[in-house]
């Protein structure tokens, strides 16, 4: 991880200043500001409806009409063409595509679309096979996406984002619908992509333990605003977790040295 690298916003940094979005007359985001250094790993946490997903969609260019400054690799998102944007930012939406009839390899090949006419065919092939190997889905490359399990689909989605070859990958709740084994696999995969390929990762989650376990910076949102940013350990200072999530947390030591405690939401006595 390269938390301490200077945020030069060269190729794959993100810089957000005073970002505000209104949808249907309601303010979804108001004055969001933070930045992600090139090659860093950020988690955006918060309750449902805190504006996390909208934030991600703005960076991905899916939600337009924002106010403020939103730079990816030094370029304003709204000024980029769809293809230019896709070469910089890949996006893995929440959930997975429904009943699509395409095979896994078809889908991953399609992610090379923004490079059409720029990358050579050999580049495309290398990117596709590389992404499939990294995610370990080569074995079911020929299967239809609609026939895959949830965990396999998520891997195919991540492979497609990797094959897209952009320096920034955005993920919306990547582990929410997965079993424990697939959660761990997905987390390790994200870490590898970040470490080995220098891809800037911006991951949205409401799972505080996931965010505490592996990240160099956490952005905590609440009510469309950034409530708190900092390294994971800072989140343990009294009061913050309650303000962000609206519940008290019990802390349990994992028993291993140097690891942050595991947080379990406090339940009312039954």
């Amino acid at each position: 991880m390269s938390c301490d690298r200077d945020a030069g916003y060269g190729d794959n940094g993100i810089k957000i200043t005073g970002l505000s979005v209104e949808l249907g007359g309601r303010a979804i985001l108001s004055g969001v500001s933070f930045d992600a250094a090139p090659g860093s790993f950020l988690y955006v946490i918060g309750r449902n409806g805190a504006g996390k997903s909208t934030l991600l969609k703005c960076v991905a260019g899916v939600t337009g009409g924002y106010k403020g400054e939103l730079l990816v690799g030094g370029q304003e998102v709204s000024s980029l063409s769809a293809r230019d944007r896709a070469r910089r930012v890949a996006y893995v939406p929440q959930g997975s595509p429904g009943d699509v009839p395409y095979t896994v390899s078809d889908f991953i090949e399609m992610s090379r679309y923004p490079w059409r006419g720029i990358a050579s065919e050999a580049d495309d092939r290398r990117a596709v096979s590389g992404a499939m190997e990294l995610t370990g889905i080569t074995a079911f490359a020929g299967r239809r996406i609609s026939s895959l399990s949830g965990g396999e689909r998520q891997k195919a989605m991540i492979a497609s984002a990797i094959a897209q070859g952009s320096g920034i990958i955005l993920m919306d709740e990547p582990t929410t619908y997965l079993d424990y084994a697939h959660q761990v696999e997905t987390i390790n995969l994200m870490a590898r992509v970040n470490r080995e390929h220098g891809v800037t990762m911006l991951v949205v989650t409401h799972d505080v333990n996931l965010a505490m376990g592996f990240s160099c910076k956490i952005v905590a949102m609440s009510g469309g605003r950034v409530e708190w940013t900092g390294p994971p350990s800072g989140l343990l200072e009294p009061g913050w977790l309650n303000r962000i999530f609206g519940v008290q947390f019990d802390r349990y030591s994992s028993g291993r040295d140097g690891e942050l405690p595991v947080l379990v939401p406090e339940r009312a006595a039954l």
Binding site: K57, A60, G61, V62, S81, A82, R83, D84, R85, A86, R87, V89, A90, Y91, P93, P97, V100, P101, Y102, T103, D106, F107, M110, S111, Y113, P114, R116, G117, I118, E121, G142, R144, S147, Q164
Partner: protein, 363 residues
């Protein structure tokens, strides 16, 4: 498009190197090429009167000058050409609409385009602009203009329908595709009610002409008329092939397509306009042939798989061939009457489609 000059050959190679798609093999590809060809070559000889090659080609002279030869060249061949191009264009429009609206039921007639054209035709028939037929004696010198009147009005009607739907789409920016589809259904039923007013209040002759036109029929005189659907086929096939990957991506939803670099707004505008205009041109000449735009892409998906660069030519082949076969049946089964081909399409198409829906699917 900077990529055009740079690597046209490479792009073309990539587009057409998909013959290795799973489930698609050399046998299927050969069948897809030769079956339509055989149908096209065989259809003109079949009809009320079977024509033998000896009637058309005579030794030494080349082309014979017989009544059969005239029927062959002036009526049968143009009719087959028109039917093939129209069927292919209908099929491709259905394919593109199904992808754009992410709805397996989307087809030209569902979007109001066909009924718009029918309304235009109804207006022209009611105003007495239509040519030929029962009781309407067209003055000799005016007959050419009169022959254009119904297609022109039908075209105008189709364009009106497109304009209404597009305006609605612009107004309800961000409305879902389902909303747009429903708007098409609303426009369609509004126009249909107006057509019924014309049908109910018209005289027997007008009503008959209108009714037979709305059933869809292909009848042409001369090669010039036979080529009228060629531009439609050209437009639909070119657009479908150029936007093949975009159509694939949009199947995964707007978010995935947009974040993979597809300019959704531009694509929608261009495809919607191009397809609708092609449909309007075809409907103006052949009447609203329902069902073909729905059935041809579904059959083709079974044969060629979901990827549009392969699906598009396959859909064209299936749609064109289906319409030629049905049209040949239309002018043969009830001979000497010339049934509207729309009847045959629905009669044969409906059970076939049911079978397609319920037949066990190979995985």
């Amino acid at each position: 498009m900077s990529s055009v000059g740079r690597s046209f050959a490479e792009t073309m190679h990539r587009r057409f190197s998909a013959l290795a798609a799973p489930g698609f093999n050399v046998i299927k590809a050969t069948l897809l090429f030769f079956l339509p060809l055989a149908v096209i070559l065989a259809a003109p000889w079949i009809g009320v009167r079977l024509i033998s090659p000896a009637d058309v080609f005579s030794w030494g002279v080349g082309f014979a000058d017989s009544a059969e030869a005239r029927i062959f060249w002036q009526l049968r061949v143009p009719r087959v050409v028109l039917a093939w191009c129209a069927g292919a264009a209908f099929g491709l429009c259905g394919m593109v609409f199904q992808a754009l609206f992410r709805n397996p039921l989307a087809e030209p007639s569902l979007l109001g385009v066909s009924s718009g054209a029918a309304l235009g035709a109804a207006v022209s028939i009611r105003l007495g602009l239509a040519s030929g037929g029962l009781g309407v004696v067209a003055a000799a010198q005016g007959s050419f203009l009169r022959s254009l009147a119904t297609p022109a009005c039908a075209f105008a009607g189709a364009v009106l329908a497109i304009a209404i739907i597009s305006a609605f789409a612009r107004m309800a920016r961000g409305a879902s595709d389902a909303t747009l589809l429903l708007a098409g259904v609303a426009v369609s039923s509004l126009f249909s009610s107006l057509i019924m007013v014309f049908q109910y209040t018209g005289g027997a002759v007008e009503t008959y002409k209108l009714l037979s036109w709305t059933m869809g029929g292909i009848s042409v005189v001369g090669m010039g008329e036979g080529l009228k659907a060629v531009p439609s086929l050209f437009i639909t096939l070119t657009l479908a092939l150029c936007y093949a990957t975009e159509l694939d991506l949009i199947t995964f939803g707007d978010e995935i397509a947009a974040t993979r670099g597809v300019d959704l707004e531009r694509m929608r505008r261009l495809l919607f306009a191009g397809m609708s205009l092609s449909v309007a041109m075809v409907v103006a000449n052949c009447g609203p042939i329902a069902f073909l735009g729905l059935i041809a892409p579904h059959v083709s998906r079974r044969i060629a798989g979901p990827r549009h660069r392969l699906l598009a030519p396959c859909t064209a082949a299936v749609g064109g061939t289906a319409l030629v076969v049905c049209d040949t049946a239309a002018r043969t089964v009830w001979a000497p009457a010339d049934l509207p081909v729309g009847i045959i399409i629905s009669f044969l198409g409906a059970p076939f489609f049911m079978w397609l829906l319920f037949a066990p699917r190979r995985r």
